[in-house]
Amino acid sequence: MWTYEKKLQFPVNIKNPNPNMAALIISQFGGPDGELAASQRYLSQRYSMPYREVVGVLTDIGTEELAHMEMVCAIIHQLTRNLTPDEIKNSQFAPYFIDHTTGLYPVAAAGFPFNALSFASKGDAIADLNEDLAAEQKARVTYDNILRLVDDPDVCAPIKFLRQRELVHYQRFGEALREVQDNLNYKNFYGYNPEFDRQK
């Protein structure tokens, strides 16, 4: 189970609302490489993972992604506080506002809602860990793209923190993949499913 701690992993204190920034950054809540997908990817994959070190990595990174989802939501919430209808009307946030007002709903920056097809849980250690390595890089690219378009230092600080965590997670997943490959039977040179097709 999980226990809620009444704190963000990294502080979010945004003084100036900005609906245009909110409309871009929300992709890291509900977009294809967002934190909702990340948390569900890792927390779903761990049940079939055959090595305890890797289960630990999936559990702890999956849990951290839940905290990142909360940070992204905090950023969106604070960017959309006390907006006037005119401020919304003249922003890219207007289409989202029509459906969700300023409530948090997981969508991509391009407007489509969260889709579980944006992550995979294949029940194969090699396939899943390669998915995870790619996912961390894709999330890092998305944060880089956000930083290319966003200039408020109050917003950039938590976004830079989140970008940095993708790098660390990529590192840990790389070690996890090496762990799995070290455990492969020498006859399994091509990396077939080590948990289902056990080779005696």
Partner: protein, 88 residues
């Protein structure tokens, strides 16, 4: 926040909490690394102290500690939630 220092006390909790988040992932893939184990133990204690200091004057960080901080009232729902910003 119950007093003006709560922001600083919370920052201490976040700082030591993050140290543990980072060291935990490292230990998952390096479970025999004694330096990392000692580091984790050291910062677990500092985290515990920071949480105790925060909770004694600013309110519970988890629902588990909400009952022990004050007998007369359910304090878990008091104070701000973490996502609230300067304009809430």
């Amino acid at each position: 926040m119950a007093n003006s220092n709560c922001g600083n006390l919370l920052y201490q909790v976040q700082m030591y909490g993050f140290v543990l988040d980072e060291a935990r992932l490292y230990l998952d893939t390096h479970p025999d690394n004694q330096t990392a184990l000692d580091y984790y133990r050291k910062y677990s204690e500092l985290y515990r102290q920071a949480v105790a200091e925060y909770e004694s004057s600013c309110g519970p960080l988890t629902a588990n500690s909400a009952s022990s901080t004050d007998g007369a009232k359910w304090r878990w729902i008091e104070g701000g939630w973490p996502w609230l910003g300067p304009n809430d």
